[in-house]
Symmetry: C2
Subunit: 712 residues, 2 copies
């Protein structure tokens, strides 16, 4: 049994701090549970010594309860919380929720109290949600173990969507919106301060929960990236779609200042990568999250491919849906010849195409729409079918025969989702949902939900499982060594198997001339300084030096420029390297994310990197195939295939280099903050790291701060 | 009086082809009008000679009606339509709608019939909507002059949103969705085949209509760009927001093949430019269109700036709204000190900031939320205020005092929109709407609607009024002359005042050497051929030639490459030009759009142009300030300001060049299909057109095809 199951399926529930006032925080859960007919034992607890509360026998302490208590709610003033939780542990409570606020979110004193709660819970094996949490619900059994005032106006129904959020307000806003559109929930939980149970563990529970088919979550301040990854992968393996929102932009850490890669890692790119790798999709609004979750909940399966067959009573709406498909990764393929002739036979006045516009005349053909949809499902060669039926669902009686026919069709094609787009009464939409047919009112939103469903399926087919970082393995890794200068960084990367040019660090003009002669002209000269990271900005790179005179002049000029632009910087000399030309300029990098560990970045180099942020991230270590997907995720792939007549670049070598970089990053994640390889030149044969920066981790990491979060 | 007013405010209405069967196309409008209590005279007309139809006295012909008929509907078989329309003209009908299909959309024969209808209408001054149109409505007077079956299930209410679409299905889908969310309509019209009245003219009507406050439209196949521009500008001048959807991607014309600019003009970029210049915003879905229109309809004014003050009962939702603002052009500025202390006094436990999180404890302070919102409105220094109130609106009685207080606040601050985000009953939302407070359920959608409202206001402040192209002025323009080669094109642009390098077209190796000597080394050599447009792709450009040997070798090599890659192409020789270096590589261009005339394109050059499509369009001729906005609309502006230590580029000279290009394009719009200036190098001082292509218009333009469209 999952450790969290007693929270959601308690046979008995105590409310410590229960109130006779049904409006108070300790009174509301009791009222909700009674009103909703929760079938388990209910034990109101209040030290005041009432004989009963809201009609139920009351207890002075949880210790007075003679029977086992699966789940306890603590809603007492902060001064009494530690005692209440300790009592629960003594009583043998298996799952405790602490609603009381004023813990880690309120400062150091609260944080200390919060640690006490965790210690008590850990010592007894009791699990703890909160403190500062809003509660949880399981509508199917009438378990409304929350003080959310939402339930005053609306009681969510039972269903198969599970919801895990940190913020109670976000959670109740979501399940309130779900209830208003008749989507049912298996359960919803808000984790508050996450002293013990976090959102990742709730997702892990939902992945196992047989009542849950689809998982919605909001990610705010995930602390354990490995746990989140594992939970998401477990859901994906269980065939359960996860739809996630990310609230708040990623903090830009110290890495942002030191490297491009660190700066580009902001803007949620790391979350995007992790969600994609673990089979989840991201929604940009609560409505969009519920659109996607609703589709996945109702349709018998996710579409097995991108091909959509559209049947529409309106050419204009058909074009609108085709426009939308074009922006998503969906296609509206031409129909096979047998499908065309079948459609032509049914509706001879319409043009057999995809979208298939039945035209207004379809009303003159009995069952014309159903038969067209049937052809599309049977012979259209598509992975899903969308039918636009205008406002047919607003006239339930007229629509009844079509409704019955479509329900039968959907039952016959469980492998191929059928979606309707129309205005309808809630009852019609509900009946169709029962039949496995999602109904959307807005054509664009319908296509976006379908696109996300296909994306979920596609991602599930290409999960990237990153082994958790083992402290033991890291301890066994030889130390990184000195990486402060470009030369040191490149030498280190070369030892890790990455291709770098032969080059010489030269402390004098004479050494530079000798190095150039040895390497062979033309050469490049670069300023060598641990303190100048962005050499281009100080004019610190001089290219294509054809002879000794040029090299000598370049040395003088580089030192002059460095002194001019960065008089503060200590300069070690110049770096002499062969002039490498041709190929595609890309950027690769590493950022060691505080939550998700080492992440590899790749994208088009030069001005494109920063102007267009056309880079993507992937979790290290990469497999070969993950490296290839990373290469393909941006515009660089277009250029690498051979841009404007150039020969194709060596993708094989590039993928190999990224895999090696990722292995290096994973092994040294504890020592590194970020790495830039910029440019990484990808040539017709091989690739080469023309410049590299390794930003080591400062020796004393900042202490982890305790989490505070929002109360409703 | 507006020419279209008789359609929407008829004192009398005839239905030709009226039926006693309330389900038939000729029976439905009659039923709808009777059911909705249309107060004008109703004249059912049917040649069968019924005494009455659906309880109203019937006529055999519209000519039998002794009284004036303002508006007539024609819903007879196609063979009888011309006669019916002719009868209307004779009767003195002022406005006729033809519902019958089978005209231009069905082929040449139908197109000929359609022309007859137009001739009859024009001759008598009668206006015509359709044929193949679904009808129009004006709910305030019970005018449901349509056969849309939507009205079987739903009757839209009266309000201030006007809707003009070509597709009837799109229109009824939109007003159906509006009705389901209790948004009222001033009128809605579907123009069908647009033989006479088109969407642009309907927008023109709505701009004048005193009952219309906000205009929604769907643009499908606009034929008259000048009329659309004029109508949109009229609406903007009348202070009426226009929210537009564009259905269907722009067709890529012949210009796409010949020039970059033509290719990049696809993907709706031209529509985006025209809508922005004329003060309208574009919506990406019906829901988004109604979100924006609903906000504009309900709020007393559009926000006068981007600054938003957010009051929220949930920190998480506050962050979500701030995230959304960050992606839009909205800002959440820090609060002025007096506002902070006022908030601190009201809710001492909360942190005075923007977003202002009242925390859960706000419920312990009587009127705490209202007072916080009041401070934000009075002293927050913001242009609009958004308050997140969770699900308060689901409990109307508890919410009543807050509702009253907020209504009073909104009345006191008509200049500053107040928006609520909460779940609520429809009644609560309706009452707040009456008080000028839009209520949204989804926080993200709320912010997007607010962002669009601010965009509408901002665009209204910077309208770009393009004079219609005058045929007389074009006739007076001296002919374009020969522009087939790069040299000719550049010479022509130089005469128009654009900066081009000195360069020589050389028919021989010797001429090339002489030209290089005259221009001064280093030089550039390019292949010279009318038939090779994309020189780079055949290796047709050789840079940085330092001496005569290099130039001679380059001539040989260019001819060899041209012969190798394009053995079909006739080569005139080579072009010798000075080697110009440094500066920012941009692209400028012209495409003469079939609907909107000459459009100027500008963006970052090189690989960025095609990989990232970071280009924008503007209508020619440009004013200086429009040129500056065009320059600022993409990433190029960042680079032009001085990228990575480079000096700022000469924006002044660039703007001047774009203005001159636009004047040239406008004068020669009838002779030109497209122009590429690629690269247009913008230097520290001045800018220079390094390469240019002018694609002339083919002498015999394809005949304009008649319009066919979709029936519902």
């Amino acid at each position: 049994m999952h450790a969290l199951r007693p929270f959601f399926h308690p046979r008995s529930l105590a409310i410590i701090g229960a109130s006779s006032d049904p409006e108070r925080i300790g009174g509301r859960p009791l009222r909700f549970l009674i009103e909703s007919g929760f079938a388990g034992e209910l034990y109101p607890v209040n030290t005041a010594g009432h004989a009963e509360l809201q009609g139920r026998r009351a207890y002075r302490s949880v210790l007075e309860i003679a029977a086992p208590v699966d789940h306890a709610i603590v809603a007492v003033p902060i001064a009494a919380v530690v005692q209440a939780v300790a009592d629960c542990a003594r009583q043998g409570v298996r799952a405790v929720q602490v609603f009381t606020a004023g813990f880690a979110e309120a400062g150091a004193q609260g944080a200390a109290l919060q640690r006490q709660l965790v210690e008590i819970a850990r010592a007894s094996g009791m699990r703890l949600i909160g403190p500062n949490s809003l509660g949880l619900i399981n509508p199917a059994i009438g378990l409304f173990a929350t003080f959310s005032t939402l339930l005053n106006g609306l009681r969510p129904g039972a269903g198969r969507i599970g919801l895990a959020t940190q913020s109670g307000a976000f959670g109740s806003a979501t399940y309130g919106a779900a209830a208003l559109r008749s989507l049912g929930l298996s359960c919803a939980v808000a984790t508050g301060n996450e002293a013990d149970v976090d959102v990742a563990e709730c997702i892990d529970y939902l992945a196992e929960d047989p009542d849950t088919r689809v998982i919605c979550t909001a990610l705010e301040a995930c602390r354990n990236g490995d746990a989140l990854r594992a939970a998401l992968l477990k859901a994906a393996d269980a065939g359960k779609p996860v739809v996630a929102m990310k609230i708040g932009r990623s903090e830009l850490g110290a890495a942002a200042a030191a490297t491009h890669t660190g700066g580009l890692a902001g803007n949620d790119a790391v979350y995007d990568a992790v969600l994609a790798e673990c089979g989840a999709v991201r929604a940009r609004s609560i409505d969009e999250m519920l659109d996607i979750a609703g589709f996945c909940d109702i349709a018998p399966r996710l579409p097995s491919g991108p091909r959509v067959g559209v049947v529409t009573g309106s050419g204009g709406i058909g074009v609108l849906m085709a426009d939308e498909a074009d922006e998503l990764d969906l296609s509206l393929p031409p129909l096979p010849a047998p499908a065309c002739s079948a459609l032509q036979q049914i509706l001879p006045f319409a043009v057999a195409a995809n979208p298939f516009d039945t035209t207004g005349q379809v009303t003159s053909v009995a069952g014309g729409i159903e038969r067209a949809i049937e052809v599309m499902l049977d012979q259209g060669g598509c992975d899903s079918v969308v039918a636009y039926l205008a406002h047919a669902g607003l006239s339930p009686q007229r629509f009844a025969p079509t409704e019955a026919a479509l329900a039968a069709l959907a039952a016959r094609h469980p492998e191929r989702p059928l979606m309707l787009v129309m205005l309808s009464t809630p009852e019609v939409a509900q009946r169709l949902a029962q039949a496995g047919i999602p109904v959307f009112a807005d054509p664009s939103r319908a296509m976006r939900a379908l696109g996300a469903a296909w994306e979920l399926r596609r991602r599930r087919q290409a999960l990237h499982r990153v082994p958790p970082l083992s402290a033991a393995a890291q301890a066994a890794t030889p130390p990184l060594g000195a990486v402060a200068t470009e030369a040191q960084a490149k030498a280190r990367l070369a030892r890790a198997g990455l291709p770098v040019p032969v080059e010489r660090a030269c402390a004098s003009r004479e050494a530079a001339l000798a190095a150039a002669a040895e390497i062979g002209y033309p050469v490049v000269a670069k300023i060598l300084s641990t303190e100048i990271t962005h050499k281009t900005e100080v004019g610190g790179v001089m290219l294509n030096l054809g002879d000794a005179t040029a090299v000598g002049a370049a040395c003088d000029e580089l030192l002059r420029r460095a002194a001019h632009h960065r008089p503060d910087a200590r300069v070690e000399g110049v770096l002499i390297a062969p002039m490498v030309q041709g190929g595609v300029e890309t950027i690769a990098g590493v950022v060691v994310d505080a939550v998700f560990g080492p992440m590899i970045m790749f994208g088009l180099g030069g001005i494109a990197t920063e102007l267009f942020r056309d880079v993507a991230f992937a979790s290290a270590p990469l497999t070969k195939s993950r490296a290839e997907r990373l290469i393909d995720s941006g515009r660089a792939s277009q250029v690498l295939r051979g841009w404007r007549g150039a020969p194709p670049a060596d993708r094989e070598a590039l993928a190999d280099t990224l895999v090696k970089l990722s292995a290096f990053a994973a092994a040294h994640a504890h020592e590194i903050e970020a790495i830039d390889i910029n440019p990484l030149l990808v040539r017709e044969q091989g690739c080469i790291c023309l410049d590299a920066v390794i930003a080591p981790r400062p020796p004393h990491p900042a202490p982890e701060t305790e989490r505070g979060t929002w109360h409703e």
